[in-house]
Symmetry: C3
């Protein structure tokens, strides 16, 4: 993984992250976020995965159901944000994947194994947002009580 600072003005930073074959997207984004101590950030990406795991949140059981996609797919969009959760930046990303027959599939991204590239643009802002455990959904949601 390589990064390039594209622009910076008064705490608004635009950074390109280019991931290569065998980088795993979620782990790489998370370690980038920790290393650069990212404040509230959001990102968008395109590229391709050799395989991925996506998840669907089952409201009845309050559990994620995982779907493995064990084939080369185009990453049609990867959209997400990075917000502090328990003092560490946490990546939240949803993905749309295109198969060989051009059908689209996707979910909450659990694992995405890059091949050959994932081109991400991260926009960082100086303000911090935080996630907090929500007892109703049993998910860590952005804490709106402090906004």
């Amino acid at each position: 993984m390589k990064t390039a600072l594209l622009h910076e003005i008064e705490g608004l930073r635009t950074v390109a992250l280019v991931l290569n074959t065998d980088d795993e997207a979620v782990a790489t984004l998370a370690s980038f976020a920790v290393e650069y101590r990212l404040a509230a950030s959001h990102f968008i990406a395109i590229g391709a995965f050799s395989r991925a795991v996506v998840a669907y949140f089952d409201w009845a059981t309050k559990q994620y159901r995982h779907t493995k996609i064990n084939e080369q797919v185009e990453v049609l969009s990867l959209v997400g944000d990075i917000v502090i959760e328990e003092d560490l930046p946490k990546v939240h990303a949803h993905v749309v994947l295109g198969k060989a027959d051009a059908t689209a599939h996707g979910g909450h991204l659990i694992e995405g194994h890059v091949r050959p590239t994932l081109e991400i643009v991260v926009t960082e802002t100086p303000r911090h947002l935080r996630r907090r455990f929500d007892p109703v959904s049993k998910l860590a949601l952005i804490d709106t009580t402090v906004l």
Copy 2:
């Protein structure tokens, strides 16, 4: 719905909107746009809906065909813009939704009922754009005659 101003410089504003369970996405974005008198803005979001209505514009009839999606879905991407139409900010948004089997579906967003969250980043710019009725498509398109 809660908002947080993430950054502002010379009229370029980045705002986080966090919607909660039972907020309807289109109406909430529209009232936010009116309240903050948004100029030309664009946004991107991820989250989940308990149900949604999406539309496809049928070119032959010049009518939108609605499809109801009456199940919990991941919002894989919600992309749109806010532009003035008849003196009011008008939301135009397209959505990609992921079902439990990881298949993707979508269209022009008519209604999206949030559950449990929708995380939106709005970028506002100081310039105004306007929509104007286009007699060929019978849609309100961005008025390019004044650009």
Copy 3:
């Protein structure tokens, strides 16, 4: 095609591109990029196509497989970047399309014939990135050796 400069500060420019019926999206973006000598840029768009050609990169053969979509579709998202390749700005874009039955399809965008509109927001940054032929994938990837 018409453009509107929405904001500019120290080389960070936000530009709206509005394409009309019969504009082809990839060629129009490419000629815009050449005309404005775009440095590293990224974009996002929604709209509709009367027909499109999308591609899937077959890792086994290192060839793109094309799928023609010969019907009116909603452009649910068009995400991409513009980076210099062999001294010219090169457009790289992935698209998600919605059919009349609300199913989503997509791939690497080869051709997208606009009808009636495509609303693109381009963010330009002053830094240049370059693509370079990668002998393993046989694709022109962003050159990370110089980052």
